[in-house]
């Protein structure tokens, strides 16, 4: 046996409640984060991710107390992200009981934070969240790909998927690895909320570009999508939100299905 593939329910948290956005926009209420965390943990989730999508200054204390509550009820690792800009933000989250902290905008604006965090907490704590969208306006020095005979490059977005950065996702992935990131949480903006499956092409390219674990995110609408991403790419983990929140599929049943189809999972 060897290292298993991880199945990770994601909880987008706004004002202390779990919500799930569609294309980062429309929002439905999905429940109490502590209760959901406990339920997923008992069902055999390998890890949890919490993203504080409000992330305003007032939310700081809310998220800290949420992290503390979650850490008391679950005995699996969890990552917290959303609005982490400074070392102090990251420190607050880790010292409240999170195992890893995910940074997106904060790292694009100030890449040194990756190395600083790694130096204090170790690289296993530092997750870089990348929100990526296909850009069909070709530019020089970009990695160009083709799909359905259209050419494009992968661009990194910040501020919750709202603002393009002009950064090439392949190059940014390599840079965050070089600076000391321990994991990449890779979300496809194109697929997020569509429930049509992960962006296999994007995931393949990022996984091949780096030697750190990558978590696939965005687009999972049914267990088959998870199977596809594990069989078609060398990704380490798959994250999903809505399929678990609305009781469509329980974590343990999804993992049994993966195992039956040849994916090594912890059961």
């Amino acid at each position: 046996m060897t290292l298993t593939k991880r199945v990770i329910p994601c909880l987008d948290v706004d004002n202390g409640r779990v919500v799930k956005g569609m294309h980062f926009k429309s929002i439905k209420d999905a429940g109490d984060p502590v209760l959901l965390a406990e339920k997923y943990s008992q069902e055999g989730a390998d890890e949890l991710v919490f993203l504080d999508i409000t992330a305003s200054e007032q939310q700081r204390e809310t998220i800290k107390s949420l992290v503390q509550k979650v850490a008391q009820v679950i005995d699996i690792p969890f990552t917290v992200g959303g609005g982490v800009k400074t070392l102090q933000d990251a420190r607050d989250i880790l010292l409240s009981g999170a195992d890893k902290v995910a940074i997106n905008t904060g790292a694009v604006k100030n890449p040194e934070i990756i190395t600083k965090l790694m130096g204090i907490f170790g690289k296993q704590c530092v997750v870089i969240a990348m929100d990526v969208r296909r850009n069909y306006e070709l530019k020089e020095d970009r990695h160009i790909f083709t799909s359905d005979s259209k050419k494009f490059w992968f661009e990194v977005y910040i501020y919750g998927g709202k603002t393009p950065t002009n950064l090439d996702a392949i190059e940014w992935a390599k840079e965050v690895e070089r600076r000391g990131a321990g994991e990449i949480l890779l979300t496809s903006i194109d697929m997020d909320g569509t429930k049509e499956g992960y962006d296999i092409q994007l995931i393949k390219e990022i996984v091949n570009a780096v030697n750190i674990p990558v978590v696939a995110s965005g687009g999972c609408g049914k267990p088959k999508h998870m199977l596809d991403v594990f069989l078609q790419t060398n990704v380490d983990a798959a994250l999903a939100a809505s399929i678990f929140h609305y009781k469509t599929h329980s974590v343990d049943r999804v993992k049994e299905y993966l195992k039956e189809n040849g994916v090594p999972v912890r059961l």
């Binding site: 690792p77 010292l95 195992d99 130096g119 170790g122 030697n211 750190i212 380490d236 912890r266």
Partner: protein
């Protein structure tokens, strides 16, 4: 109730370990030096942080630490905590605690680093920490280095990551795990209980 201490290097999540010990009915204090260690029946070196800053925070406690081990006070080192038992690590420039002979080396870079996720235990020898833990149990790893003890008889279990990763070491009352028992669900909780049982004696 058994009273144990977690040494805090000031570098990461020790809250989960504290919760896990408390759930298993221990009284837990967080300490930053070993001056009052006589008040406790066991010590935990947690598994978060970076080698040099962590070892620096233990600098003034080195002698006290060696005394503690000599006096057979149970110590559990988790991940980085276990790595610090050895003489040196490729992660840092500073020397380790040197309580065990051997070194800590980087995982080969043909594998993804860190080794992150759930991997199964291959039990090699009977061990106090692994009492009641089944062969093939899943535990949660997140590390970039592995230990290389001079005496590999102290390795009680390992895990397969393309290479063999020593997962549990045990030398009298000195215990170490490369994975995180506090993050390894029910199986991890069994090991925490086993450690606390040794502390009670």
């Amino acid at each position: 109730m058994v009273k144990v201490a977690i040494f805090d290097y000031g570098a990461g999540n020790i809250f989960s370990l504290k919760s896990s010990l408390e759930k298993n009915e221990a009284e837990v204090d967080i300490i930053t030096d070993l001056k009052k260690i006589k008040n406790y029946s066991g010590l935990l070196l947690p598994g978060v942080g970076n080698f040099d800053p962590a070892i620096k925070s233990l600098d003034t406690s080195k002698i006290a630490f060696h005394d503690l081990v000599k006096n057979q006070v149970p110590v559990l080192g988790i991940c980085l905590g276990m790595e610090m038992f050895f003489e040196r690590s490729e992660e840092g420039k500073l020397g380790g605690l040197g309580i065990l002979d051997g070194e800590v080396i980087l995982l080969p870079n043909k594998f993804k680093i860190p080794h992150m996720g759930w991997n199964d235990l291959q039990i090699k020898q009977s061990s106090v920490l692994l009492e009641g833990v089944k062969e093939g149990s899943w535990v949660y790893f997140v590390h970039s280095y592995r230990v290389k003890p001079k005496n590999d008889g102290i390795i009680k279990a390992d895990s397969d990551y393309g290479i063999s990763v020593p997962a549990v070491i045990e030398n009298q009352t000195l215990f170490g795990t490369q994975f995180h028992p506090e993050k390894s669900g029910k199986v991890g909780s069994i090991m925490i209980k086993n450690f606390l049982r040794v502390c009670k004696k």
